[in-house]
């Protein structure tokens, strides 16, 4: 992948946090963003990562890397997110040289990460029963310069199996009924040992899958769920309460002054505005220097989000050795 944007390059436009768009650079075209018009011509020749001016602001032009692609890709199906994807790669021992089988291709979110991990000498065979989706994914692999690492095929693997035999180090299934594909998986995994992962959103699917895996001699079967929690950055503003007892200690002489009692604030509730503590203290500080306005401290915190993904799916891993 070259580092410079060219005619025909796929570019991810970063407009802000979780605001990403994908375009394909085409001379003389214009793309409308919330920061105004972006001329494709302005992209050509720029390094990926560059700041590009639009008519009313700027964006950053990034290359197609799996994490961003997962956030920006056109959703043709529900997609896998990075927490699951990352764990799948690790648990399936996917590494350069691995031969990996994937069904279905879906929106290609996982495929891109698998390819990154098995480069430069591995290969991904990815199958999709929905013809259009398969074609679109194949085109994307092509556009992203990944064709040599992947074969995207339109095929109903539940009915027809994976075509190949004993070639795979790892198999990943995201199918509604993965248990029905187990025999095909056994055929395509290397005899000397291979790993399987199935992804299912519902526990009943997992139960059926585990049952079937176990009766077919799979070992080390384990099911996990992984949820990623992205924190929110927030400044917390904390004021300190001005305890009068402290002030007395600091300046005991002070008691004679004609200052008002904090607790007669509610005598007349209409002018609450007049009597907010800060106001009063400001007045007080004119007469007695010892009294400080209420201190407010700001502290940067990263706290859990009010809403986060609560469930994506269950990942079931297993190992099979056939001698």
């Amino acid at each position: 992948m070259t580092n410079l944007i060219q005619e025909g390059s796929k570019v991810i436009l970063y407009l802000g946090y979780n605001n990403l768009h994908v375009i394909k650079v085409k001379t003389n075209e214009v793309y409308q963003t919330k920061f105004g018009a972006l001329k494709h011509n302005d992209l050509v020749g720029k390094e990926f990562g560059s700041k590009i001016m639009c008519t009313k602001g700027y964006i950053h032009a990034l290359s197609v890397i799996p994490e961003l692609w997962t956030l920006a890709l056109p959703h043709r199906t529900q997609i896998l997110y990075m927490a699951d994807i990352s764990l799948i790669l690790l648990e399936l021992d996917i590494k350069p040289g691995s031969i990996v089988i994937e069904a279905g291709t879906g929106s290609g979110s996982l495929s891109h990460s698998i390819i990154r991990s098995l480069r430069p000498n591995g290969h991904l065979y990815t199958f999709e029963f929905h013809e259009l989706r398969s074609t679109l994914a194949r085109n994307e692999f092509e556009e992203h310069g990944l064709s040599q690492f992947v074969t995207a095929q339109h095929r109903d693997v539940l009915e027809k199996g994976f075509e190949h035999e004993n070639i795979a180090d790892a198999v990943f299934l995201d199918l509604p009924a993965p248990w029905n594909a187990i025999e095909h998986v056994m055929k395509v995994l290397k005899k000397s040992g291979g790993r399987l992962c199935t992804f299912s959103p519902c526990i009943e699917q997992v139960q059926r899958t585990c049952q079937r895996l176990s009766t077919n001699g799979f070992e080390e079967i384990n099911t996990v769920e992984c949820l990623r929690r992205v924190h929110e950055f927030r400044y917390q503003h904390r004021s300190r309460i001005n305890f009068t007892a402290d002030q007395n200690q600091e300046a005991k002489i002070d008691t004679h002054s004609n200052k008002r009692e904090p607790n007669d604030d509610d005598v007349d509730e209409n002018d609450d505005e007049e009597k907010t503590p800060n106001k009063k203290l400001k007045n007080d500080s004119e007469t007695t220097a010892k009294r400080q306005p209420r201190e407010t401290e700001s502290m940067l915190t990263a706290i859990g989000p009010l809403v986060m993904p609560g469930h994506t799916g269950y990942l079931t891993f297993a190992y099979l050795k056939q001698n």
Binding site: S200, A245, N263, P309, H311
Partner: protein, 391 residues
């Protein structure tokens, strides 16, 4: 279970929305800018069903309402569905226009009938899969069938009502509030100190747990924020005996023995003794009485869930706690509580000091489609808790 009376508060639910209202004869409430009268709720019981007819909530037959309100049995998401069958929801296929629907509504046509019309005028409904049809119907039911239920307020329902307004209650999630109450060991007869900025949710919980025992509840608020804890206490419609031993006192003056003296010296200027003024004087006196009482009382429980600096509050209040009493501090961030922990360790005389957070996972339990909800809260906040002992 007693019936609703004029002036009572009620919790109104409709689909997944929850709203706290006060029932007042002839006075409307507002939902989405629509005036709604609750007159017919008076005399009805907890959990009754109502249908919105014109501007009035009218009593609805339970069985009929139940059926109307119930969603078709489908999953809230398409998890577990063979997505081969998914097809576009096609919103452009409806020939019934928005204006026509509005007209039907103002003509008093029932929601059910409107939905029937929508279905018959939909170009694609027949072509949808059974799953998509159900999904479509549920969406329309949610929009056109307005079955309300009214409930007697409870802490659980208040938590539910604040779900979409969490910033008002410092993001205190219901499981965290529940745990806070346990850790405080509040019970009938306890002396309790509370510093909170949660609309009175914590205070109301404590008042309910004490149920007018012979202990005292001190609601410590900064001057000028006396009313910050009113909302939830009002919502709960507590009987007077529950409130008799509840004192709101100015937290600034805690430990300041000169306060009363100063207050007496600084007697406010004599105004005409109108009713409003008398009431204010009474309130003022009650705050002073509370303050005096507080200085003489040993607390069994101290709860801090305040937007103000918790450490200095803890430092000023900890010596009011008696032997074997309990303290709990809630904060959205750990850092605040770590400061308090360091102070406590240095001070000594505390045991079982813990900082904890919690996870709350909700589940969809449906035939062949069981899984946790696909959205959850990632913010439980943290609780620091412990006990005071002889050091």
């Amino acid at each position: 279970m007693s019936a609703f009376q004029d002036g009572d508060h009620a919790v109104l639910t409709c689909h997944d929305r929850t709203k706290i209202v006060q029932i007042r004869q002839g006075r409307p409430i507002f939902i989405d800018k629509n005036k709604i009268f609750l007159d017919h709720v008076i005399g009805q019981c907890d959990g009754s069903y109502f249908e919105l007819k014109g501007k009035y909530l009218s009593v609805a037959d339970m069985n009929q309402a139940k059926e109307l309100a119930q969603a078709e049995d489908i999953s809230s998401d398409n998890a577990g569905q063979d997505n081969r069958d998914l097809c576009d929801d096609g919103t452009g296929n409806q020939t019934l226009q928005h204006d026509e629907i509005e007209q039907l509504k103002s003509d008093g046509v029932s929601g059910q009938e409107i939905i029937s019309k929508l279905v018959s005028k939909s170009a694609t409904f027949e072509k949808k899969t059974a799953f998509s049809q159900q999904k479509y119907l549920n969406k329309k039911k949610k929009k056109y069938i307005q079955i309300y239920r009214t409930w007697k307020p409870s802490i659980r329902l208040l938590c539910q009502a604040y779900t979409n307004d969490l910033q008002k209650i410092m993001y205190l999630r219901r499981d965290t509030l529940a745990m806070l109450l346990s850790l405080s060991n509040i019970s009938h007869g306890s002396n309790v100190g509370i510093v909170e900025s949660c609309q009175g949710l914590v205070l109301a919980s404590a008042i309910q747990r004490c149920a007018g025992g012979n202990g005292f509840i001190f609601n410590l608020t900064p001057a000028g924020e006396n009313n910050s804890t009113s909302p939830c206490c009002d919502f709960m419609d507590f009987p007077d005996e529950y409130k008799a031993n509840v004192y709101s006192i100015p937290i600034e003056n805690v430990g300041d023995l000169n306060t009363i003296e100063r207050a007496n010296q600084a007697k406010p200027v004599e105004k005409e003794p109108n009713e409003k003024h008398l009431l204010a004087m009474q309130r003022r006196q009650r705050r002073l009485d509370g303050l005096q009482l507080f200085e003489k009382t040993k607390l069994d429980s101290l709860i801090i869930a305040s937007k103000y600096d918790s450490l200095s509050i803890l430092q000023h209040l900890i010596d009011y706690l008696t032997l074997s009493s309990h303290f709990v501090i809630y904060s959205q961030s750990n850092e605040t509580l770590l400061e308090c922990y360091q102070f406590l360790k240095k001070r000594g005389g505390t045991i079982h000091v813990e900082i904890a957070d919690s996870w709350l996972r909700e589940y969809q339990i449906l035939d062949e489609r069981t899984h946790p909800f696909i959205r959850m809260s990632g913010a439980s906040g943290y609780l620091l808790s412990g006990m005071i002992v002889q050091s």
